[in-house]
Amino acid sequence: MKLKYFAWVRQRAGTGSETVDVPPEVSTVAELVGWLRSRSPGLAEAFQDTTAIRCAVNQTYVEWDHPVAQNDEVAFFPPVTGG
């Protein structure tokens, strides 16, 4: 699975993107976040308050109960501030 992090999520995670093998029991965004928290202190800090984090699967905004699969591109980032 390809993971992408942007803005302060990226800074806390310590990387902008990584490719990971997720355990088979991880089937939703929420479960993925739970698993990511356990991987490093940086990721634990990045995902401490998930109310401030948005998710996109394959470049489309999704909710936390959205399914994730091995070949997906999953991105995490704060609410956008463009324009």
């Binding site: 302060w8 996109a56 470049q59 956008v80 501030t81 463009g82």
Partner: protein
């Protein structure tokens, strides 16, 4: 239909000429240019010396194209253009340009305001400001969400 994400600045007159493309059915061109301000409008109004815009390459273009397609469906537009910059910019520099051309000015104005409201809430860009206290991520404004929401409701 035309969307670009780039580091370089843009010339409004050139962009407008390319967008209208000599189409003489166009009676009105509404445009909006967002500029970097030197004061953080949020919270405690720090002086901003520079702004860096990070984005999500790939998703940004998809999102802008989808927003633009929606505007073209909702209003009778002859042509539209969105140019959004990323990277480092100083106060006074342009960040974003939206152009909407229509036979009638009402459609051009409304579509332009619609696109800006959606850009602010849907386009995957994030701003970090260099302030007196160091770099700081700009937080999303509730007012921007409210502005975008008004397009989802029936007119009062």
């Amino acid at each position: 239909m035309s969307v670009r994400v780039q580091e370089a600045a843009f010339d409004v007159a050139v962009e407008m000429a390319e967008t209208t493309g000599g189409d003489t059915s166009i009676g009105g061109v509404a445009m909006f240019v967002g500029l970097v301000r030197d004061l953080d409008p949020h919270a405690d109004a720090k002086t901003v010396s520079a702004l860096t815009l990070e984005h999500y390459p790939g998703m940004t273009e998809r999102q802008l194209e989808s927003i633009e397609a929606e505007a073209l469906q909702r209003w009778p537009l002859a042509a539209t253009r969105i140019v959004h910059r990323h990277g480092r910019m100083e106060p006074g520099e342009p960040i974003v340009l939206v152009i909407c051309c229509s036979a009638h000015r009402e459609a051009a104005f409304e579509a332009c305001a619609f696109l800006m409201d959606w850009l602010k809430t849907k386009a995957p860009f994030w701003k970090v400001e260099d302030t007196d206290d160091g770099p700081r991520w700009v937080e999303a404004r509730a007012a921007d969400d409210a502005a975008a929401d008004r397009w989802a409701k029936p007119e009062c």
